[in-house]
Subunit: 249 residues, 2 copies
DNA sequence: CGAAAATTTGACGACTCTCAAGTCGAGTGG
DNA sequence: CCACTCGACTTGAGAGTCGTCAAATTTTCG
């Protein structure tokens, strides 16, 4: 996280890249970034921000709330990643034109809209900021890669531990975590969609995490008494989050 | 694929985005792109093009051969994606600075190097080409997403069918497929690393595909008699490859 | 030809799925 | 205030996929 009042000074985009490359943004760039948002809106639970195949003339900054990036197969929904405040959730759609996935709210969310014309202008006359935008979309790819590895390697309870550890860290980067856990509107079903297991199996896994004292997940609130233990159990190595400046390994 | 002699006219970068957004590149942009490559090199089997955590002042265009994008966990190697000629394999490293993954050759490969200074120049004075570069990196993210879904949904033999179907299509886009299959240096162990299964289980799965007549995979050569059947068995829906212009759904 | 690498086979156990119930909790209407 | 309802969560039993260990066989290449 940058200066503690960063979010007061930039209430719309102050969390963008916080704890990551935000420190590379000049004051002028932060001001410009904040001005890119032409309007905000509050969306309700399960609102679909953008749907697969759709074209759009704007991208969406997540200001408050949680979102899932989803794909749909014949039988079920797959959440391929999740988003926390400060994420420029569908910036992809600027470069990709049509999206291959959906962005769905989990719980109510507040968003800001950035017209693509404004992004074109940034690309034309601020290559440095353009590069940061590019960076922020590649972050998603890095998260996907780590998740592919974890899917291949971890059992369901460990996958869940990994997910909780990641959410916690990411919320922390944008100043929204508690010392002993975090708040989230995610239900067990959402966790199931995220870790590719059935809700039934996730329930057993969550129960196991609770019983073994690793994490107490319940709707609205996650409480963890021993963070190291959670991260170790989920084999969580935060390098892939590109937090701060230290090198990755 | 674009015009059949595209690769003769641009022997270094003629396959870049072939079958996808290459048609949006003007003649001048194709010429400029070709000139970005300052040198080429032939790399041997298992050569590591770039390693996790490394910084680099150039990016690599894969001209001929196959590569895997890998992550390493305690026990094993995970291949999170693979690359075919025409892929700008570590362009990520331009925007990301330090990479979260490795790029490894499978079989010998010929590559071209593009200095990052040259990419900075492109970003400064050709926003359209810059956007195509951005697009090409987001393609990887889209492929990762599809793969996350397939990992969660398919059994090992079906995963393999999906992988074969994808490789085939991608080789076809760059004009390197046969009517009845394709050639590849991939071994069963590589397939295992790609689909997150053990080599032993992959072996049984490959045997099943062979026995059921869906695909005959052997080192160096994959032969498929009924492509529709392969793609249906692997639940392969090519929308995520962003081929051609038709909308995604 | 011989060694190393790649592929193949068999048996057993762990993880996760499916189907089928059953419980808990918040909000609603009487 | 209580009964009702709907969604979320929980529990149990049986079956399939896949991992592990241990070996044999085939292919590749010096």
């Amino acid at each position: 996280m940058n200066s503690p009042n960063e979010f007061e000074r930039f209430p719309l985009t102050g969390r963008f890249l916080a704890g990551r490359a935000r420190s590379e943004m000049s004051e002028a760039e932060r001001v410009r970034m904040e001005a890119l948002v032409t309007g905000t809106e509050v969306l309700e639970h399960e609102h679909r921000v953008i749907a697969r195949g759709q074209r759009s003339d704007h991208s969406t900054m997540l200001i408050e709330g949680f979102m899932l990036r989803t794909l749909e197969s014949e039988n079920r929904r797959h959440a391929v990643s999740f988003h926390v405040p400060g994420d420029f959730v569908d910036l992809h759609c600027f470069a990709l034109q049509r999206l291959d996935h959906n962005i769905d709210c989990v719980g109510p969310a507040r968003v800001g809209y950035v017209p693509h014309e404004a992004i074109v202008e940034v690309m034309r006359d601020d290559p440095k900021l353009a590069r940061l935008f590019w960076f922020s979309t590649l972050l998603d790819a890095a998260l996907h890669r780590e998740w592919i590895m974890k899917l291949e390697q971890l059992t369901a309870p460990r996958r869940i531990a990994h997910i909780l550890a990641e959410i916690w860290r990411r919320l922390e980067m944008v100043g929204m975590a508690h010392p002993d856990g975090f708040e989230t509107p995610l239900r067990q079903i959402d966790i199931a969609d995220m870790c590719g297991a059935t809700a039934i199996h996730v329930n057993r896994a969550v129960a196991e995490l609770r019983k073994s004292g690793i994490a107490d997940f319940r709707r609205g609130r996650v409480v963890v008494s021993d963070r190291d233990r959670l991260e170790e159990y989920g084999d969580f190595n935060p390098g892939y989050l590109y937090a701060g400046e230290p090198p990755i390994p």
